[in-house]
């Protein structure tokens, strides 16, 4: 297993956001996490990416214990994420946002970091070409030089995924990449996610509200409710599960 989340518990004061959540993802899998609002999906993602630290349990990625790693360390193990509420550098262009991901922050000591010629790095090691390829891949060519703050919502969501890809991650965490999108934009995003896995072999953990999408594209599905895993398995198994149908309003018209 590439990613193992073992018995993770996360509490805020007296509230348990996650209790003894376990999850396993194999290399190259597309695993979805679903559940009603407030079920703890984003909390789980925050634990994996180092923004939160679980009060109990362990998170293992490719044999490394990431339970107490900070976000910038997690990134260096090959995990990238896109946020639910878009977190882009709004004052920069799309290309600059992607290039930002190619600056290998923290690989050098303090003095090197001050002295290294950032621009030489950008051009020198082909970072630029790499980012242009991702822009092509995510069909963002028309917006390359546009300021991110000026772009429509659906495009910004795509830029977020593109920027995460620019880290060349082994594992991509996507937090509701289709939320608030039009049907057409959703279809595009589904295609991108499937292509990312097919062409790059990237493992994907997807949090999503749209059950139709989840059931169509996932290899396996985990269902969270009140911070606990209430069901997991193949999409068809999960959608038949009575506890899931109970917890998740609207599941019946999908199955």
């Amino acid at each position: 297993m590439q990613l193992k989340v073992e018995q993770v518990t996360l509490s805020f004061g007296g509230v348990k956001a996650l209790s003894e959540v376990s999850l396993e993802v194999a290399q190259g899998e597309l695993v979805s996490v679903i559940g009603p609002n407030g079920a703890g999906k984003t909390s789980l993602l925050n634990c994996i990416s180092g923004f939160y630290h679980p009060s109990a349990g362990r998170i293992i990625f490719e044999g490394h214990d990431l339970t107490h790693a900070s976000p910038h360390q997690v990134t260096q193990y090959g995990i990238a994420r896109a946020f639910q509420n878009i977190e882009l550098f709004t004052g920069m262009t799309v290309l600059e946002n992607l290039l930002m991901a190619r600056h290998t922050f923290g690989h050098y000591n303090l003095l090197d970091n001050i002295l290294i010629y950032g621009r030489a790095m950008r051009v020198g090691v082909g970072n630029r070409r790499f980012c242009e390829e991702i822009i092509d891949f995510m069909e963002l060519e028309p917006y390359r030089k546009a300021l991110v703050g000026d772009l429509p919502y659906g495009v910004r969501k795509r830029v977020e995924v593109a920027r995460a890809l620019a880290l060349s991650p082994k594992l991509l965490l996507l937090d509701e990449p289709m939320a608030g999108m039009t049907l057409e934009e959703k279809e595009d995003m589904v295609r991108f996610i499937l292509d990312i896995r097919a062409e790059r072999g990237t493992t994907v953990v997807l949090i999503e509200h749209d059950l139709g999408v989840v059931m169509d594209i996932s290899d396996r599905v985990y269902v969270l409710d009140f911070g606990q895993v209430i069901a997991s398995g193949l999409p068809e198994e999960v959608s038949q599960n009575p506890r899931v149908q109970e917890a998740y309003v609207g599941v019946d018209h999908v199955a």
């Binding site: 910038h72 260096q76 709004t90 930002m100 600056h103 290998t104 950032g118």
Partner: protein, 302 residues
């Protein structure tokens, strides 16, 4: 006309000192949203350290200045590590109280040293007089103030555009969450911002020392004069800090030269309009541009 230009130049020179002092302040605010009320104390400590190293230890002036800047940078780094790091995520008012408390502590510590009372004259290393250009005299300390600020601006520009850490700082200033997810250590960036703030504050203090001598209260007052400068320029803008600093410096110079005389004729003979005018201009400008001239307007989408 010559008078006017002379006043303009002395205003610009003083403004450059404000700008230098404001750079570090803006850097800290930009990267971590912390308003540093102990900036004036850093200015004083930097200036006194340079004085002590050159007069008491006997180092050459330039070496002493360099060492003092590095020492103050170290102090800034230490302050972030010991006090501010614990405050991440706390309400902004608590963080402000920490920097105000820090200012008092640093003040108290300085009063324990010989610098706490009296005036000190920085050793003269610049030749007396200055440049004469078409009847306008620019003194060497004024030239130094302007030159120093220019050098720092170029260094800052290079740092933010080209160095990995500078780019990381810009990233953190723009979006902390995103920066972390791209592998930026936000803590390291905060520490560095405070170190650079210490460095530029010391540079400002040393320039003040050469221009007008050293006195604890006077140096701390520079820290206060920085507030109208940065608010005018926009709290999070480096170019804004420079423009704001120079505007305030020039306004003060013109107030002393022209407004004091006018006010004197109507019986207001105190002659301190330079202390009020920057703030009047500031208040009026904030009606029209509440984020300062170059500040980022935050657009909240609900």
């Amino acid at each position: 006309m010559i008078d006017f230009i002379q006043n303009l130049i002395s205003g610009i020179a003083v403004g450059c000192i404000y700008a230098l002092a404001a750079l570090g302040f803006v850097l800290v605010y930009k990267s971590s949203r912390v308003i540093n009320f102990s900036n004036g104390q850093f200015i004083a400590i930097g200036a006194f350290a340079a004085y002590a190293l050159t007069v008491w230890v006997g180092l050459p002036v330039l070496l002493a200045a360099l060492l003092a800047m590095l020492l103050t940078a170290g102090l800034g780094f230490l302050v972030e590590r010991v006090f501010l790091r614990r405050m991440v995520g706390q309400p902004i008012i608590s963080v402000i109280m920490v920097t105000i408390g820090l200012a008092s502590v640093l003040d108290g510590l300085m009063y324990l040293t010989p610098f706490g009372s009296g005036n000190f004259t920085f050793p003269q290393f610049l030749p007396p007089g200055g440049l004469e250009l078409a009847g306008i005299n620019i003194s060497y300390p004024q030239l130094m103030a302007i030159g120093f600020t220019m050098v720092f601006l170029l260094l800052f520009g290079w740092f933010f555009q080209r160095s990995v850490l500078g780019i990381a700082m810009r990233a953190v200033a723009d979006d902390q969450m995103a920066s972390m997810s791209l592998g930026v250590s936000v803590r390291r960036v905060f520490g560095l911002a405070w170190a650079v703030a210490g460095l530029t504050a010391a540079a400002a203090g040393i320039v003040v020392g050469t221009v007008s001598g050293l006195n604890q209260d006077g140096l701390i007052a520079i820290g206060l004069a920085v507030f109208p400068a940065v608010i005018l320029g926009g709290l999070d803008s480096v170019p804004g800090a420079v423009v704001g600093g120079i505007v305030i410096g020039v306004l003060q110079s013109f107030s002393t030269a022209y407004l004091d005389g006018v006010l004197g004729q109507i019986g207001l003979v105190g002659g301190g309009s330079q202390y009020a005018v920057p703030f009047v201009v500031l208040l009026v400008m904030l009606w029209f541009k509440p984020h300062g001239l170059f500040g980022t307007e935050e657009i909240e989408r609900v």
